[in-house]
Symmetry: C2
């Protein structure tokens, strides 16, 4: 829905710059921008790239509508420029990493080529979507890692950052979750959606048993009973067992009970024993309440017999690191490389039109990513650390693949846009190619990302030229 109105979901300065390019006669000049992030969130070892599908939908529908042009007129934009915007659409090329790919800091993940106005103007929405979806997909992946193959569902909509919940639920599925409580995202993106009852359902009946019975009567095939409204062990679980018995007599079976407070390790063990003793070993145990990858790991380390995890706030807001620092930097204008210098050396950009190559170990696992100039004549033999001259790696004999591929040509999206579940399949395939030491929660190994010798000398020459 909102994807049809992306053009003004932007920073004002994209439009002042665009008007400046237009009025100074530069509208047909060409530019190339790179998207990359600088720091892996959650003190982790990798990021799951997500947001590409939504970004491509946005590129397809990128138009300024009459109402928006009128508004821009009231903000002082010039008529000649607004006339230009009237027929504006994105006509350039985009190369990108696949959605669901495992990626690392400093690697260009998207390369946007086109005229200087169109490449500039899409900056904000690109950053907004890709930064956030990659952040949440990464968090989801960590949660998936902790939960193993148990069912994990997103329950976070009530604590999502406003309409950011739309993308959060989708990105959570790309990063490996099974489904969501978010009906909107389910409809828009074809996610599995589910849910049963809140405490209010139970409170609204004269007693808990009546509430359980009524639910089971109307949803006999899909009953999950929330057992902690009054007293989990003394009332909730015994009442759930009563209803499980009644369902069984009618030929149905209770699907699960859900614990939403208290000590989940303790309560789940007690609940499992009571359910088993009553003859219901197949009734599953679901748990929720401020869960994240660390709590899930701790519960499973304690052998808590939990089959289904509901994860909310900590996932959908990426609570412990709620932003990915992705940036969009100019690399070339009219085929001439450009550079941004900074007092923080790690913020100096990589000039020129670049390719990214992923190198593999013999067993097929990821070894390193190499960034090189598109127009290098010779094959890249070594990749180097961007700043430390002693850190150099030979790559010429390694199996390799280009990491970026063309997804938009002359403004047209060239392949079918991936569904969230398709991107999840790709993610699940790729995460297997990342060695466990990069996936550790504590002090993960740092993945090698290097630059070619030619790229390095171009950058160093440009820095020296500027500082003269």
């Amino acid at each position: 829905m909102l994807k049809n109105y992306p053009a003004i979901y932007t920073d004002f300065y994209e439009l002042t710059m665009a008007q400046g390019y237009y009025l100074s006669g530069r509208k047909n000049e060409t530019a190339v921008f790179d998207y990359f992030f600088r720091k892996i969130p959650f003190k982790g070892g990798y990021v799951v790239f997500a947001g590409l599908s939504d970004f491509l939908e946005i590129i397809k529908g990128y138009r300024f509508h009459q109402e928006e042009l009128h508004y821009l007129h009231t903000q002082g934009f010039k008529d000649s420029f607004l006339d230009y915007l009237k027929n504006f659409s994105f006509t350039g090329n985009i190369h990108s990493v696949k959605e669901g790919e495992i990626v690392f800091a400093s690697t260009p993940l998207l390369r946007i080529e086109g005229n200087i106005i169109e490449t500039q103007i899409i900056e904000t929405i690109l950053l907004n979507i890709i930064n956030f979806e990659s952040l949440i997909a990464t968090k989801a992946s960590r949660i998936r890692q902790a939960a193993g193959e148990r069912l994990v569902l997103d329950f976070g909509l009530r604590r999502s950052q406003g309409f950011g919940g739309i993308q959060a639920s989708k990105a959570a599925v790309i990063g490996g979750l099974d489904g969501s409580s978010n009906v909107y995202a389910g409809m828009e993106f074809g996610l599995n959606v589910s849910g049963t009852m809140a405490h209010s359902w139970i409170q609204s009946f004269p007693n808990e048993l009546a509430a359980f019975r009524t639910y089971a009567e109307h949803f006999p095939n899909n009953t999950i009973l929330l057992v902690d409204t009054y007293d989990t062990l003394e009332q909730g679980i015994p009442n759930a067992i009563t209803v499980a018995q009644e369902l069984k007599e009618k030929g149905y079976s209770l699907k699960a009970i859900r614990l939403d407070s208290g000590d989940l390790a303790y309560l789940s063990k007690k609940a499992r024993k009571k359910l088993d003793a009553a003859g219901f070993p197949h009734v599953k145990i679901a748990a929720s309440n401020q869960l994240d990858e660390y709590l899930i790991k701790s519960l499973l380390d304690q052998k808590a017999p939990i089959d289904i995890f509901g994860v909310g706030t900590k996932l959908v807001t990426a609570y412990d690191n709620p932003a990915l620092d992705g940036v969009y930097k100019l690399a070339s204008v009219n085929d001439k490389p450009t550079l941004k210098i900074s007092e923080n050396v790690e913020k100096i950009t990589l000039p020129g039109i670049k390719n990214v190559t992923r190198y593999f170990n013999e067993d097929g696992t990821f070894y390193a990513d190499g960034i090189s100039l598109q127009n290098e004549q010779k094959p890249v033999s070594h990749i180097e650390h961007p700043f430390l001259p002693t850190k150099k790696t030979k790559v010429i004999d390694l199996k390799s693949e280009p990491l970026l591929s063309k997804v938009v040509e002359n403004g047209e999206v060239i392949n079918d846009i991936c569904s969230a579940t398709k991107s999840r399949s790709y993610f699940r395939q790729q995460i297997e190619k990342l060695s466990p030491e990069y996936k550790r929660f504590d002090n993960p190994h740092v993945y090698k990302v290097g630059i070619s010798t030619e790229l390095k000398s171009l950058r160093d020459t440009m820095i020296q030229k500027n500082s003269k």
Copy 2:
């Protein structure tokens, strides 16, 4: 835009519960829910209530469209229930605190009365909007506090959590900011929007001076020059002074320079001296780069001569505390009070239909909030701590006001919906009535929120009855 499609921006379980109420013949039963939060974010002393305007717009447009009903059919919902949803709209009453009000933990801030289906079904969207906007308005208020009366602008859209940026920019203005870079929010909510140039503008020209000159030529009345692309002190500021001189010769004046990296205290002092020495004491200094209330306070403590602050990631994601824990709890069904018990005592709810009274000190500052039952016969003489019997405060002689007022009657919004700037005015008036000790960043004083003796005995009786 999205506000016209709120009905399925919900947790699946709201709809299963609604169908359960419908199928069990309870659709005309009445219910009352309270919204409140449990913990003030940012280790702060208060929250700025926001999101009401957007929530009221959502209530006005709350419909299930054909496409959505079709989708729900595919998810197994029953035809009779979907027929009911076809004509569904919210027909109940809502009492609320005003947008921009200063509020505290445990106080009911919204009271929703109506039939059991309509009061349940709006839960998720209410929580999504009010939690997030109140969170961001609170963060903005803290930033405003640190910045004093200096201009403060939201630059966060690229790091906003997806479409959450829509609400983030609005809530930032409600909480005291002057404007935003977010054009969408500017158009939708009538916010001041602004922006000038990124590093890419400068990189795209043969040199920095050419970039500055071209910008000034096309925006002579509104030029803010970004001076840190190559070398702030050696190039950026001297070039800005050259352009300031050229603008002056044409009868214009340079508005400001902007620092976006490096040591902002050091660079702003150097910049101020250079600008003053060149005869430009009126050219302002803007600063951005990962700012929050603590960094702004530190910069101003160091006497950094910064006139304009641009605040991004830390504001729009509420980086150090990215969720408000607001909840929506059933208080009454068919005029009978309801209760949720929990192993965590602070999670036990307050039963019954309740009023909230704000008590004032003699100087007009806020003293305490008292929660009482709507049907109490005698005036409330004391308010008590919900759990500690020794903490009791006499309030009968104090000046007081009801905190909640009716905003929706029989489904109709009864007053004009407040604009963000109007809510900001209310906020700025109310924050003056909060004593400084509640506004401290470190260990702020805890504001008194108490309950009446009648409410307390109702709750305690219900707890005892349950535990028998």
